[in-house]
Subunit: 409 residues, 2 copies
């Protein structure tokens, strides 16, 4: 990808609407466009990151045996009346009527709809267990949309739902998802704190939250410096002599053992081994996909700009061509690397070096490859590794090995 | 993928709600679930097809130099007031207010939003040309939702938008998209008729529709048996002696040379070479993604069931294990093929052969691989090629070569 042809439009100024580090960096780097308060569009740079996040989630969900589907965003209110959540979630639901006076809402979540779907097809214990998931835009009429993608009216979520014959199966599936979540957040390089949590409006008993410590977090946990553990409530640490300090965190994932709350309300059952009616035992597993994007941006930057984890960077490396006479040569090198599966940006614009560096930092690639005036003499190009700050001098024919080794391919 | 673990739930009965062949087959094969009239969820089988359709579109859009982004579904009504389309599209818009009384709609299309985005970032002719696209759920309050995905209230669309300095650039970009569209529909094995068309509510001058002839089509074209050409209106064929017969067609793609309708109304301009204000010259390019899925199902089936094109089949082959003692052996063969990039379904259920065949036909894989009782003796398995009806006897170690050759890999 050539910079001059790309829809990358970084800004020098700090956007006035920015409410926190990630919001500022994502707007400034042209990852995001603010349509209106709490409503965002993903520009090509942001889309590239989002797409990589989605890919990782899909890989781990599929390896855990979950199957992908895609539910409707429009939902009839009728199905919500069965669980009473048309009332519980009334405040955050976008609700309206169509031209035939049919009452609809935009799905803020999909427990009711998935239960209807499963009920339609599943009638015997032999068809169990299974887990279904989707990645989809969800809608909530937030009282206070804040911090960009952290709390927005339209956001992207991965929601998975497991269906079992009994408690034991649920626990097994829950454990599988728990492990998959740990892998997923590790791949995002997010140091998640995992805490047992309230089930709240979702119902059910056991539930775990995956939280990223961050200054702008709206969830307060207590961190005990002696135990080294996190707690939901301060009093819980009374057993230990340490001082529990409040820590702000952002929730990026939440998994629930729902049990039979939805299946009972919606009459979703199977016939068991003895022909008896058994309500489906459900679990649900959410990841705030767009919030992950913002959280990574929040915790992964320095004074210069963003530093994306290798797994979700929009470009694996950015070439800064500072010697115009080398442009064609560098494009040829980049083309050959792209044919080997790397996604690269070549900044061949006629701009001062300072502008190019600044933009590369705003884009946040982990590797910046500098082709300066001394390349002619030395035959070496410089690779700046953003995270470590280290600089490597390498010859262009060694670049493929360097990238393969850094990206473990 | 093992059938017994999959969320495939075919039905023997013809669904009562089905209004046409594709609707019937997609419901019966458990590709789709009807949430409510005009609202559908894509079950895992349908999602697999949809995903392959999206991949092909992305490949061809990217090769044509377009860049992907993802806009919001929620849109403020304000931007629609600028072009007056809040009135033109009033009837089909889902429109509502949020808790702060902000007037919103669900995007039935995105010309206004993309123009706002581009206007925000583009100020010089040097930044032109470029083409942006997205694949996204769109919403229209249809007066008569019909034929399943053919005309639904929530549907998936690929919409692309080109931006140029002048007419000439637009024509060049339009031509590029025109060629990309031909490639895309060819890859779907859809024999599209391309006709010049009215621009209607979109505005602009030149426009072409990509139409699939089908009995349930709601658009009538006229086919001249002498010219061999299609026309929008009957009188247009007056120059030729042939008899123009009416043909029903389904619109799967529509491309428009919009010109400056939106950029003028929304004040989206750049400074040209002499520092003069130049309104952006736009084109827009739509593909009804979910309608493509339905159209393929509509034209690609026989009495037995669906026959997906190789490019978008949910499974490249289905193994029917009719000799239980061979189950493990076949799973091992399938695993090794999957490791080479084929997606396969192994039907290892304890069901009669007739049930397995019927389900394989409903799922619609182009190749059905039968492991019958005589495999023990002959060492050969049978491959039924659905489209030609041909049957091949091959030994399992030749299967990889067979599939590679059939799928041209």
């Amino acid at each position: 990808m050539l910079y001059s042809k790309s829809f990358i439009n970084t800004s020098r100024e700090n956007p006035k609407v920015a409410e926190c580090q990630s919001h500022r960096l994502l707007l400034k780097g042209s990852f995001l466009y603010m349509v209106s308060s709490g409503i965002y569009s993903y520009l090509p740079l942001g889309w590239r990151v989002l797409n990589k996040i989605n890919d990782i989630i899909r890989q781990e969900m599929d390896s855990a045996g979950a199957q992908e589907l895609l539910m409707s965003a429009l939902q009839p209110i009728d199905i919500w009346k069965k669980t009473g959540r048309d009332k519980d979630l009334e405040e955050v639901m976008f609700r309206f009527k169509d031209r035939k006076k049919r009452e609809l809402c935009l799905g803020p979540t999909h427990e009711e709809e998935i239960t209807e779907i499963v009920k339609r097809y599943i009638s015997s214990y032999k068809q169990l267990p299974f887990t279904l998931y989707q990645i989809q835009a969800k809608f909530r009429d937030e009282p206070r949309p804040r911090f960009g993608l952290m709390r927005s009216s339209e956001f992207i979520m991965k929601d998975a739902y497991s269906f079992d014959l009994g408690r034991e199966g649920l626990e097994e599936n829950y454990q599988k998802m728990f492990e998959a979540y740990k892998k997923i957040f590790r791949r995002f390089e997010l140091d998640c704190v995992i805490v047992e949590a309230d089930s709240g409006a979702m119902g059910g008993s056991v539930s775990h939250e995956f939280m990223v410590p961050a200054e702008i977090g709206e969830d307060i946990l207590y961190f005990c410096q002696v135990c080294g553990k996190y707690y939901r409530e301060k009093e819980k640490c009374s057993s230990c002599a340490g001082i529990a300090e409040p820590v702000k965190t952002v929730e990026v994932g939440h998994i629930f053992q729902l049990g039979t709350k939805y299946s009972q309300a919606q009459d979703a059952f199977v016939l068991g081994r003895q022909g008896e009616k058994v309500s489906l035992v459900m679990g649900c597993y959410g990841i705030g996909v767009s919030r992950v994007l913002a959280s990574v941006a929040e915790v992964s930057s320095d004074k210069k700009g963003l530093i994306w984890p290798k797994s979700i960077t929009p470009f694996e490396a950015i070439f800064l061509v500072l010697d115009e006479t080398k442009t064609e040569e560098i494009i040829a090198i980049a083309d050959s690397l792209e044919s080997k599966g790397f996604s690269l940006l070549v900044d061949e614009r006629k701009e001062p070096a300072g502008v190019k560096f600044n933009d590369a930092y705003l884009i946040g690639s982990p590797y910046i490859i500098i082709i300066g005036k001394n390349y002619q003499k030395s035959g070496k190009i410089e690779v700046e590794e953003r995270k470590s700050g280290l600089s490597h001098q390498i010859s262009p024919d060694k670049l493929i090995d360097f990238l393969k080794s850094e990206y473990r391919r």
